[in-house]
């Protein structure tokens, strides 16, 4: 089962990924998807035992320590906010009262 990308598929993926693909861009994206998925689709025919997919890494944990002093990072971080009220990040209202 090799996936075939259709214009609708690409639009749906774009919506999931919070992107917009314009009608002009769409044919090129679909054609490139066909080629790329055709290539990576070779894995489907591969006979590999499942359950042995463990990477040779271990997560390391740090010991708990004292957190940094409150507010020391705030000025630098709020500087990057596109919209703010004081030190608070301001976003559009998403729940209406009425």
């Amino acid at each position: 089962m090799t996936a075939h990308a259709t214009p609708d598929d690409v639009k749906k993926l774009a919506a999931l990924a919070r992107l917009t693909v314009s009608e002009e861009e769409l044919p090129a994206f679909v054609a490139e998807f066909e080629a790329i998925l055709g290539y990576v689709g070779q894995l489907e025919t591969l006979d590999i035992a499942a359950g042995s997919d463990i990477l040779p890494y271990a997560n390391t944990f740090r010991t708990e320590g004292t957190p940094h002093e409150k507010g020391v990072w705030t000025p630098d971080i709020v500087k990057a906010f596109p919209n703010r009220e004081g030190d608070a990040l301001s976003v559009k209202q998403i729940i209406a009262n009425d």
Binding site: A3, L19, V21, Y57, I94
Partner: protein
Amino acid sequence: MESNLASLTITEAARKLRAKECTVRELWGACHAAAKTDAVHAYLEVFDADDAAIDAAQARIDAEGENASVLCGIPLAIKDNILIKGKVASAASEMLEHYEATYDATAIKKLRNAGALFLGRTNMDEFALGGSTENSAFGPTTNPHDTDRVAGGTSGGSAAAVAAHTAIASLGSDTGGSVRNPASYCGVVGFKPTYGSISRSGLIAAASSFDQIGPITKTVADAKALFDVLRGTDVLDSSTAPEGSYPEFTHEVKTIGVPRSLLEQGLDPYVVQAFNTALEATGCKIVDIEIPSNKPALAAYYIINFAEVSTNLSRLDGIRYGHAARGETLLDDYLLSRTEGFGKETKRRILLGTFVLSAGYIDAYYRKAVAARSALIREFDEAFKTVDVIATPTMPTPAFKIGEKSDPLSLYLEDVFTVTANLTGMPAISVPMGTVDREGTKLPIGIQFTAPRGADERVFTIAAAVTGEQLY
């Protein structure tokens, strides 16, 4: 004299500073002037002098001499995805064009502590996605050996700056070959360390299970000098390997394994010839090896890359930082910010990543790719029971012309030799192995050596045998 200083290696510059043949200020001035001339668009920004840092480095060299770090007073170029507090870190994307880093990457902290200086931030493929630096939102970097050709990527600016002698050395990052590929195309040394040996804290993430910061230098000794300063565990990166994670490896190399069947397709005959000559010249025993999982490795790499990239880049939504377009609703804000902020290749990978992780396809694509990755790791581990290092050419061809590989798949296929080190987490280096003639221009090509995880010293040893350096 000034311009000559920029063409020094780290080792040579450190010696001159200690012999008082030049001052830190003179070295900085020469590198800064050279970086300002930048004929290949290696830099996105050249920084002003940090007078306090220059004076402090000079004072340390005067007081400590040989005991000061070899990097003390050395101007370095830094890839635009490594955070330097107070400087823009854009990852060559319009999304982060004006984003100022709020903290130093751990690698930058370590360089600062060693007394190194930061010359500027270098061009790259947007978010480290590509292989030619043509995906930069700010225009491509060109190859110092032929400006009609690409510098390679994604650390194209870092490699071109070193090759053009507009920096003493530089840092890049390597996700599927992004340090080694431009090093091969530009004729310099590029080293991708064992995964987990250099902290990723402060490196803008592309594909987190592959990403490693790596040095790009004029000599193998310089790559080792940078690695020795940068390596080590970091509480800010839980994937850094604790001390004692690997067996004690010797740095000696006696046997080189060559996966011959991988070299049979699509390789430039001149590259094969140069490869065989370089191998013979090492004096090591050359053994043919078989790694069957090399065949599906590239497909597995790209599936995992798409998946991790789409996940990592979901944080860029125009709300807290970065490009922030505004529409009618909150959803419009996301859509507009991401659609305007990301370039074409970035969008393509986000869409492909969304696809391979989607409910109907995750078993067929992502989980299969992870299993193929594990099989590859086992085969490499097995091969290293009989050989000390594994060699391939770094890239199948020399640098291609700008615009020549406009379809994305043909560009992906260039990464066939480099991605295995990222899939396996193993250290790999590219060093120049000669040149090939293209339309009357000599273009550099690189040879790549891979060693077991933790045996980084081994790739330095064999790379130094190719360049004729004495390391130990």
